[in-house]
């Protein structure tokens, strides 16, 4: 067959990307599996043996830790999905919905740890809510002795996860709605006499869910195994399994890492089991839903359901906003006695005191984030350009591979990465940190950029070529400038993802790479609220700033180009 373009097709790009993205995951899983069965030469252990598993099962907290992982993970996912579904069913296409849509990006980028700290500052016995209600309503003149934070059932942790996952699932739902003609589907259902909510659930949700299934799995796996938010909001005796694995990894006694590895393997199996359970529940719900549709009911309690959806989503947004405000106020608070709603004075003392440390941590954070995002952006552009050149689109299998590093629990492979580095005698440090950040940054950058890139009219490239432009010039002078806004948005997403990483930074950095996030979470156990406020705020600012740039820069550069400025 004639090939009129026997030139670089960039076939290496997808392969290299897969290697960069999945290599550390595979190596880490292997590096976890070996010590789990008693093989860790660095600790003088030569397997195979079942010793580590026996030690794991001898830990008295195991039952509770396993139960916590399951309950917080499943409950957080279920609640987040329910809120997003009710919100979309009741409000998609309306004014309040568009307002929420526009406010989404900042909420998405706020790091988990900052959300958790903010929520803690709100709901703690000495937090803002208690202060606002005291003493006139509660009669409290000093903080009550209530276990609201770190409650043994993990409810505070679940709430924190929901506040953070609702924006993520909402974004994914918006993307899916755009691709599934939801507006007209709803109009047809309403014309047939269905209420808004039930009509949406019957006619649109079945089209939307398959497209948000993988993101839902990400939320489930993440919520079951989250470490940073659990250290801040979660129970402590015992903690959820993932936190306990980290505790064992931190133990100066190297043989404890064998137990940690066994725990990580158990955690992986738990996630796999929960995903299977969820898949089964999906099929059951689908079967029930079909019967519901066949029964022909027209929906009940519609106004109540609509109000509930909007109220729950609004509550999430309000909690995150108020939490961030709490961080800000604490970071500049002078003396602040208990029932007072506001501190007696405002002072820059906290920021002055922490300044140098904050500056160093901010610089490290920026360096790691820029390196990981730069590499991810380059690989994503090369992959998408390769798609154009070979005219071969990524299939469903590619999408699964893209989501894989987000579904495999961090705590399953990161301990293995650290122990492999240990075994190789390699230094943990910034380079491995950038490498493991890439594992998480790449999928998000790719997912963010892929849609707009593929939506570009392919005839634009043909016209440019007919005018005499080679492929690299078409990429450089036509595609990338036209896609400036999505490219910058993808970069902002990548930077925010990197800034928020706790466990990868901690384990691949061997504790020596100090970022705003690791430092903020390290403060959790201390109780210096002013320092937590400052670090939490700095962390949030580091994640938000790129989004501001991504919004403002195209508006500035393309101020005279209406099409690109909309």
């Amino acid at each position: 067959m004639d090939d009129p373009n026997p030139r670089p097709r960039l076939a290496f790009a997808p392969r290299l990307t897969l290697l960069v993205m999945l290599g550390p995951v595979a190596a880490g899983l292997w590096g976890t599996l070996l010590p789990a069965f008693g093989h860790l030469p660095a600790a003088g252990a030569w397997g195979p043996s079942l010793g580590p598993l026996r030690m794991l099962f001898a830990w008295p907290g195991l039952g509770a830790a396993v139960r916590l992982s399951l309950t917080t993970g499943l409950l957080a996912t279920l609640l987040s999905l329910a809120i997003v579904t009710l919100l979309a069913a009741g409000w998609a296409g309306t004014r309040p919905f568009r307002l929420l849509e526009r406010a989404l990006a900042p909420f998405l980028s706020v790091p988990h740890a900052a959300v958790a700290f903010g929520l803690a500052f709100l709901i703690a016995p000495s937090g803002w809510l208690a202060r606002l209600a005291s003493p006139w309503l509660t009669g409290w003149s000093k903080p009550p002795d209530l276990l609201i934070l770190n409650d043994p059932a993990g409810l505070a942790l679940t709430a924190g996860l929901v506040a953070k996952e609702v924006p993520f699932l909402l974004l994914m739902t918006l993307v899916a709605l755009g691709q599934s003609d939801g507006t007209r589907g709803l109009r047809v259902a309403q014309a047939l006499g269905h209420g808004r909510v039930s009509g949406w659930l019957k006619a649109v949700f079945p089209r939307v869910y398959p497209q948000i299934r993988l993101p839902v799995y990400v939320v489930l796996a993440y919520s079951m195994t989250v470490v940073d938010a659990a250290l801040i909001l979660g129970p402590t005796t015992p903690p959820p399994l993932a936190v306990q694995v980290l505790t064992w990894m931190d133990d100066p006694d190297l043989t404890r890492r064998l137990t940690a590895a066994a725990g990580a393997v158990l955690q992986t199996l738990l996630v796999a089991g929960a995903l299977l359970l969820w898949r089964g529940a999906e099929m059951a719900v689908a079967a029930l839903g079909r019967r519901w549709i066949e029964a022909g009911g027209r929906g009940r309690a519609e106004p109540v359901l609509r109000a509930l959806g909007l109220a729950a989503a609004g509550l999430c947004a309000a909690a995150v906003t108020a939490g961030l405000a709490g961080l800000a106020v604490w970071s500049v608070a002078g003396f602040w006695g208990f029932p007072d709603a506001l501190p007696q004075g405002i002072t820059a003392e906290t920021w002055m005191r922490l300044g140098p440390g904050l500056g160093r941590a901010a610089a490290t954070t920026a360096l790691v984030a820029l390196a990981a995002t730069g590499i991810a952006l380059l690989l994503a552009v090369l992959c998408l350009e390769a798609e154009d050149r070979t005219a071969r689109r990524m299939g469903p299998r590619g999408l699964w591979l893209l989501y894989l590093p987000l579904i495999v629990p961090q705590v399953a492979f990161l301990p293995g990465v650290q122990m492999l580095l240990l075994d190789l005698g390699a230094h943990a440090g910034p380079v491995p940190v950038v490498a493991v950040h890439l594992v998480f940054v790449l999928p998000y950058v790719f997912l963010s950029l892929g849609g707009p890139w593929r939506a570009l009219d392919p005839r634009i490239g043909r016209v440019a070529a007919a005018l005499g432009a080679g492929r690299w010039r078409v990429l450089w002078a036509v595609r990338l400038p036209m896609l400036l806004r999505p490219v910058l948005t993808a970069a902002a997403v990548g930077l925010a993802v990197s800034v928020g990483q706790y466990l990868p930074t901690l384990l691949a950095g061997g504790g020596r790479v100090v970022t705003l996030t690791t430092e903020a979470v390290a403060l959790a156990s201390g109780g210096d609220r002013r320092a937590i406020g400052a670090y939490g705020l700095a962390q949030t600012a580091a994640a938000l700033l790129p989004f501001a740039v991504a919004t403002l820069l195209p508006a500035l550069l393309w101020r005279n180009r209406r099409t690109l400025n909309g």
């Binding site: 009129p4 026997p6 634009i460 070529a465 007919a466 005018l467 005499g468 080679g470």
Partner: protein, 216 residues
């Protein structure tokens, strides 16, 4: 030397099934019209000629332009201009920037700007160089797209339903403008259209493809 655009024994197939076959020379200044139902492979043939045949299609035969075999040349080296139904102006460049994109390199900055200004004036768009393309009317955009293509110095011209997006009055004006420029420059033109009026205005041969193939 055989001047013009020459399609020698060109056969395009999809998944092993023949889609169309054409053997034909288009002389400089001649306009050949290609008609036929959707799915007959008209646009696929143009994509083959510009070197951007979509995957799944195979082609045999050869294409010569002014005596040179261009069958294996990359799209940007073929010197075949194409106009689509949409103007496809680059939205990030000004009108003048769009024209400069296709203008072959060389010449001073002032010289290039003068050429661009003169080319715009020729189609009644004096002083439009600094305008944002999105502020132009449909007819103005079509004229800019034409000038952009002509400035790149093509040796042949393909029209892919190029006038379908315009209303009746503009359609005739733009069509005459395109044919006029093509004739004056001695460009062979291959036009794909659904519209009998286009074919009549072209005044040249009309090839009707059978189009028993299913829609692609």
């Amino acid at each position: 030397m055989a001047e013009g655009l020459e399609l020698r024994q060109v056969r395009i197939a999809r998944g092993g099934r023949d889609l169309l076959a054409l053997d034909r020379r288009i002389a400089p200044g001649e306009v050949v019209t290609l008609m036929g139902p959707s799915g007959a492979g008209k646009s696929t043939l143009l994509a083959y000629l510009t070197g951007t045949l979509p995957p799944g299609f195979t082609a045999t035969g050869s294409v010569r332009l002014d005596g040179t075999d261009i069958t294996r040349l990359p799209p940007e080296s073929r010197r075949i201009g194409i106009l689509f139904q949409d103007d496809l102006l680059f939205p990030h460049l000004s009108v003048g920037g769009n024209l400069a994109f296709g203008l072959p390199p060389g010449g001073s900055r002032a010289d290039r700007r003068a050429r661009i200004a003169a080319a715009l004036a020729e189609v009644g768009l004096d002083g439009f160089a600094d305008r944002d393309p999105s502020t132009l009317s449909g007819g103005q955009k079509a004229r800019v797209a034409l000038v952009r293509m002509l400035l790149s110095g093509p040796r042949a011209l393909l029209l892919d339903e190029a006038f379908s997006g315009l209303d009746a009055a503009r359609r005739a004006r733009i069509r005459d403008l395109v044919f006029d420029h093509a004739r004056r420059r001695g460009l062979p033109v291959l036009m794909v259209t659904h519209d009998a009026g286009d074919a009549a205005a072209a005044g040249g041969d009309v090839i009707v493809l059978a189009g028993d193939a299913p829609d692609p």
